[in-house]
Amino acid sequence: MNIRTIAHVLGILLLFLSVTMLLPALIALLYQEPGAPPFYTAALLSALLGLILRHYGESAFFSHREAFAVVTFSWLSVAVLGGLPFYLGGSLPTIIDSTFEAMSGITTMGGTVYSAVEGIPHAYLFWRSFLNWIGGMGFIVLAIAVLPKLHVSSRLFQAEVPGPVNDRIQPRIKQTASVLWVIYAVMTLLLILLLRVGGMSAFDAINHALSAMGTGGFSTRNLSLESFQSPYVETVITIFMFLAGINFSLYFAYLRGRSWRTFRQSTEFKTYLGIIAAATLLITFNIWGSFAQSWWQALRLSGFQTVAIMTTTGFSTANYDLWPAFSRAILFILIFIGGCAGSTSGGMKVVRIVLCCKYIYRELIRQIHPRAVRYVTLDGRVVDEKVIHSVLGFMLIYVVVFIIGTLMLTVFNLDLVSAASSAAAALSNVGPGFGSVGPHGNYSFLPGAAKALLSLMMLIGRLEIYSVLTLFLPQLWRQRTQPRADL
């Protein structure tokens, strides 16, 4: 582990963070609110820290080990420093609260410790949604796209972008990152326009567009989208959440080839579509008559909620915590599945579920035919056994982290449903869970330690476990003989 290299890269990323923090300050000036100074302070602190790290660090050998550390620490710094304005401005009581809020923003979880968001300054609201948006496509991916040159880009990209295998869509990582961000930004702009057309105020439209595209889920209203009571808004948001949950490289392939072939051939996309359709129908029939008078209303509620949970956005248009047990169970399972790899959503990712099911089928075949040689395929191509093992390992660790998290949350006297669902919601970056952390609840009542634990689980979930957990291994920190640069 080369700590000085890590410091160097981290320094650059902190400088980048300080610049982005000037944006909410601008909003404060625009609305003539007193919210700007906390952002100046936080930006200054971040810039100072960045300069010190850069001064201490050096640009040298960089491997995947360093990438793990850089990604984890930069996300941690974004959470701590990015949350600082909430604390400095007196809007949240402790640093733990502010860090939870910023972590929930950047990891696109969208669970909040504000018991009421209506009435807090515009700058804060915007910063929360903006964190959702940056975190959706990835803070470092954005830095790679925007900054002139980061010599370690490709390793960082691998460590940050979700999914078992990252397909590069362009030969150079900077181009790849730029393409992804351009597609992302254009879709966001489109959503802002559509929401504006639907009668939302400009500020609400921007905020909801940012957090919907990032599949974050922060809202400017206490009741989330339920407060708008507009079928148009719900439909538009549903569609864009759905789009944000699709692998972005599919859009790129469409733009390049102008054909839907890649969508039709993608097993992950088809499964994603299938799961959403099935869950929507099941919930529709389950709540029809009891929680929704007409079939249309049932479909509207279940469609929105299914997509919001599956893409791990976490918006709500109803208090689904009151729905029948069957519907809640489906939503609970969807929390774990999440969206597609290479999208802005969290969870285990549909492709991993697909590979796991195919692996199970293969193992069953092997029981019947002990001598069979058989590979798992995806989209007609053979998947390497190494990938399969890492996928299975990932899912196993995911479940273990979930169980440990649930256990530790019950220590704080949380009931089992709330504990399990908040652990799952944090790990999959959904936001609201069930029970006391349901769509009409929030996370403010939890003790500090529980908030810290949930913040860590959000980070573990967003960075897909390995980056964060490997930092706990002593071997990773051992100094290593470096290859000489002149060889």
Binding site: I365, H369, R371, A372, V373, Y375, T377
Partner: protein
């Protein structure tokens, strides 16, 4: 015609034999003295050396040659030999290529012409094609298509308790097909109407494609649908066969057996949707474990004759209805039949027939070689052919050959005594070796 054969392996020997019998001037080039000595017993000239070297080719008088056939073991040598020969102005250069990187996997076959190769022969692909044909025509020992698939020739062995046993051909009253030859005790006969069929005769029938129900019922071999196939051996023939049968599209289930772990692994990666079993299928327990009873057919293409023979015997012992065996040495073919194989595929024969089609100077459209030198040929009747316009019973047709079908303006005619061949018709003829010279003369472009 002067023909230069480069490579005195099995295929080279077979080619030299057939071509010299047909009165061509054959020169065989090989590096290996021993294989040349064996081939020198034939009426051919031999040259020792590298067939791709201009010096050696000049020794074989390449400038006078009309055809060069390169059939050495090494693809690259075959290609370079053809390129070199082309520079001496040889009109037709034929190369045998095995590596799919150069052939079927490469859709831009045009580049081969630029290399000076006029015809590529892929023995493994030809064998796989034949196996696929046999699978589509269950229980036939031989299958070949003529006239763009409208006419089929099949070989069917008569069961001991078949209805046809003891009847004469005239009594069978076949519609849509004609029995053109009978193989009895490894000897071919051109039958007349009074010929009485015995058990275990192999009948060669030419007829309209897909209209063989009547004769199948008579010989006791009704067509059954083949749904589950065991392929033994994941060599090139095995892999090509799986690819041609396209199990996913045709809803066929294929189980591929391969002894070698590396080969099995490769096959599993190439065809992830079929069942690949790493195990020796010539061991009874391996076949039993996979439920031998469920297989409608087994294809033994391991590349080793003795393994294929053994697998055939085991498969028949386990009650698999149809077994197709690949045999490299032609003299083992009767053994395979005795072991119970319903059809025997000899890749080398397929190589030779491809070359013969080119070498013979007449209007041959396609040619299918059978064991023992008999052939089925498809000709275009050229203007001036003495058979044109004469009713068949009056025509002077070679006695060692029989006309199986006439295609007149897209219409398939099963000939009778009063049928007439017209100019431009295509004819399908079954011929014994003795009749081939006369036939090629009859159908020569004048």
């Amino acid at each position: 015609m002067r023909v230069i054969v480069i490579g005195a392996g099995k295929a080279g020997y077979e080619l030299a034999l057939r071509l010299s019998e047909e009165n061509h001037d054959v020169v065989v080039i090989d590096k290996n003295t021993e294989s040349l000595q064996e081939i020198a017993n034939l009426d051919v000239m031999t040259v020792e050396g590298n067939g791709a070297s201009p010096e050696i080719l000049e020794l074989a008088q390449v400038s006078n040659a009309q055809v060069v056939v390169a059939v050495t073991e090494i693809d690259e040598v075959n290609m370079i030999a053809c390129m070199t020969a082309k520079q001496y102005g040889v009109p037709t250069c034929i190369a045998r290529l095995r590596n799919p990187d150069y052939t079927s996997a490469n859709p831009r076959g045009l580049s081969m012409q630029r290399l000076g190769i006029d015809l590529i022969i892929e023995p493994e692909q030809l064998a796989a094609l034949e196996i696929a044909r046999l699978i589509k025509t269950p229980l036939a020992s031989d299958v070949d298509y003529f006239a763009d698939g409208r006419v089929t020739m099949i070989g069917l062995q008569v069961d001991a308790d078949a209805k046809i046993v003891g009847r004469s051909l005239a009594q069978c009253r076949l519609k849509n097909s004609l029995i053109v030859a009978v193989e009895r005790n490894e000897e071919f006969i051109i039958p007349k109407g009074d010929y009485v069929v015995q058990a275990h005769d192999r009948l060669f029938v030419v007829g309209r494609t897909g209209k063989f129900q009547q004769i199948r019922a008579l010989v006791g071999k009704p067509a059954h649908q083949i749904r589950a196939i065991a392929v033994v051996g994941a060599g090139r023939i095995g892999l090509n066969t799986v690819r041609l049968l396209s199990p996913r599209r045709n809803n066929i289930s294929i189980t591929l057996f391969e002894k070698d772990p590396v080969q099995a692994d490769r096959a599993a990666r190439l065809f992830p949707h079929i069942l690949v079993i790493q195990g020796d299928a010539s061991r009874m327990d391996v076949l039993c474990e996979e439920g031998s009873r469920q297989f409608d057919a087994l294809v033994a293409v391991s590349g080793e004759d003795h393994v294929n023979l053994l697998t055939t015997m085991i498969a028949k012992e386990l009650g698999i209805r149809e077994v197709i065996a690949q045999i490299s040495r032609e003299d083992y073919a009767p053994l395979a039949t005795k072991a119970g194989a319903d059809a025997v595929v000899i890749p080398r024969l397929l190589t030779v027939s491809s070359v013969l089609r080119i070498v013979r100077e007449s209007e041959i459209i396609s040619i299918s070689l059978l064991k023992g030198g008999a052939e089925t040929l498809e000709f275009n009747a050229p203007a001036g052919c003495p058979l044109i316009g004469v009713p068949l019973k009056e025509a002077d047709f070679p006695s060692k050959a029989l006309l199986g079908a006439i295609i007149h303006r897209n219409e398939v005619i099963i000939p009778r005594g009063d049928s007439v061949i017209r100019k431009g018709d295509r004819v399908i003829v079954f011929a014994l070796p003795e009749a081939i010279d006369e036939l090629t003369w009859l159908f020569r472009q004048k």
